[in-house]
Amino acid sequence: MNASVNSGGVVETPARRPFKMPVEAGIFLVLVAIALAFEALGWMVRGESFLGNSQRLVIIVLQVSIIGLLAIGVTQVIITSGVDLSSGSVLALSAMVAASLAQTSDNARAVFPMLTDLPAVVPVIAGVLVGALAGVVNGGLVAVTGIPPFIATLGMMVTARGLARYYTHGQPISRLSEDFTWIGAGATPVIVFLVTALIFHVALRYTRYGKFTYAIGANAQAARVSGINIGRHLIVVYGIAGLLAGLGGVMTAARSATGQAGMGMGYELDAIAAVVIGGTSLTGGVGRITGTVIGTVILGVMTSGFTFVGIDAYVQDIVKGLIIVAAVTADQYRMRRRKKA
């Protein structure tokens, strides 16, 4: 029987779709499978449990929470059918700026000797704003000049890294105030990551901002005809991605109590990997934050698991690469099957 009978005895035809497994269920199963594989390997190789260690579970997420933060921004950019290659470099630039404004006065060689012992809120806001500004430049380039997002953000990737180095001529920035370093201590990055994920999960699903983001990725022309100011919206989306990279920079600087121009090297690709593993399609219009969170955790489980069972770092990269390709292949099959249906 397709029709359901309600309490009044009136037969009502189903207006909602029949229950379907969410896309994330598949990715979640992959996560569980990988975790269980390491559990088994753990008992075999080391004779102890991989998952039965609450401290390890926190570390799994902790070590990828900065990448996860970037990935939340990148997810939104990819949904608009763009891409952001600059997040790792923007993170470094923001970390440098934040660190330079978080130094204590007992430092003889502070970057800004006049600006020491500032309240922690100053470096935090400065770092986040620098990131947002870089993102707005990315979005502006894409929206105004029409150059492909790949090129625009590639340019920003190189430029922001250069700026980060130029800022102190390659010197690391150290002796940061305790008020500031507290931000990155303990499990705060995990909390920041999960709260940010929740905010943008809600934003994508329940706000106009989200609806417009999907629409632009699904068909930019049709979105424009439907009255969406595409340029302005893209600037906001890339701006948010930059802002989150900036936040990632602040967290990184606070956690390590330094600012270094080499921070976040290669993070942009890890972030994209997390997004893609999470089921967001590079063709745009499709994707969810929940998938990205699971994708991020998969990356974390793999890193921890490989180390736990003692697999060579080089082999880790080989396997990671294979998993990314496998995820996109699975995505292609899903798209093709949906098309034929």
């Binding site: 909602r16 706000t207 629409a215 049709a222 979105a223 424009r224 439907s226 969406i228």
Partner: protein, 512 residues
Amino acid sequence: MAVTALGMMTPPSVSTHAPPYLLEVDSVRKEFPGVVALDSVCLRIRPGTVHALMGENGAGKSTLMKIIAGIYTPDQGMIRLRGEPCRLTSPLDALEAGIAMIHQELNLMSFMTIAENIWIRREPLNRFGLVDHAELRRRTRDLFRRLKIDLDPDQAVGELTVAGRQMVEIAKAVSYDSDVLIMDEPTSALTDREVAHLFAIVEDLRSRGKAIIYITHKMNEVFEIADDISIFRDGRHILTDAASNLTRDKLINLMVGREITQMFPKGESKIGEVVLSVENLALEGVFSNVSFELRAGEILGIAGLVGSGRTNVAEAIFGMTPATAGTIRIDGKPVRVDSPKTAMAHKLALLTEDRKETGLFLMLSVLENMELAALTDRYVQGGFVAQSELNGICATMKNTLRVKTPHLQECIENLSGGNQQKVLIARWLMTQPRVLILDEPTRGIDVGAKAEIHRLISDLAAQGMAIIMISSELPEILGMSDRVMVMHEGRVTGTVDRADADQVTIMRLASG
């Protein structure tokens, strides 16, 4: 094997042993998840004939053609070519067996030249094993001479008009010397002259003993060109008969399986105040001096050949490509429209000509497609979408417009063309426009949905909406419009009242 002299000289296709049918489709069945697209379909095509396939969207014509062209493989049943069973598992198989398909969505590489596109995979090589461009050009010229196509083989395909590209597709199919040619709505983007040219080519092919399978929605074309007509409905083959045994009305009834009393029912509506007036509107190099007034409750038809500037006028009024000169007034007040967003703020709406390019979000759901335009100025509070309210309105829209979909969450790609079009109309109605511009509202839509959309347009006018309707179908223009404005090469050549409008007058104005 003994071969007689006679047998050697006679090609098998005309030998006395040849079967009467070039292509036979025998009890073919094809299922997609949840849908039976074709159910024990049989079809037989004679050589030297044009065989038209007709049916509403979703009747199974395109699926059947894709099976014949090797794009899909059937779940059951078989295909016989020249009496021999054959199994086609790819478009390449089909091409090599002598079956070529001219696609509805054109499949050409825009940055390559015409010659390169036609002979792709079969390029003539010189003695160094490199592509011999002189020979390539010569072959293309020979082919074009035979088909009377006037195009430069070295031109990039991307620079051609849609009609030009269509000609290249046809030339490519002919170049394979295929025995069976499948044409899926080949004339939907062609002007009358180009259609005549296409028909001349089809005649030529027919006289050479080729079989042409011709899918179309246009009645006049069918009776002009087809020898045999097969009708499909809901994945079933209903009937095949000689075109001379069928009439237009009979055809329509067989296609929809029900009586359609009136095709173009523009009802009574009270014509009110002038809502939109356009004065000397121009877009440099495209159109100029376009002026007209549009009143509440009125339907203004815009007729003209493809390329006459009709669509450009609509896009200028709606701000997609803002006009370079002239004034647009709403309620007598001049307004500046520089983007669709500002046009919508002035309560304008435009249903664009190309559903796929500028209308649909194919990967999104029916609901997401329907609600989007309304979100620009309502149903949003503090950035949050009032989803439950919207769901209710969309459900009402779905029922009022009779959109056939299992639920609002369905991916819009799975709906038929007519239902997709209804969703797009619903999208605009939800913005509560005062002026609704419809560009080819029924293109590529089956007869049943067409009549429903006509009734809907008429109802909207009766409720006082001011409507502009652009259409290439004269009966539609004549049946629906209160006034008809005719354009030719970017100029308005005349405006005719409903009482004085007939096909001859309008065609004369449209051809300058």
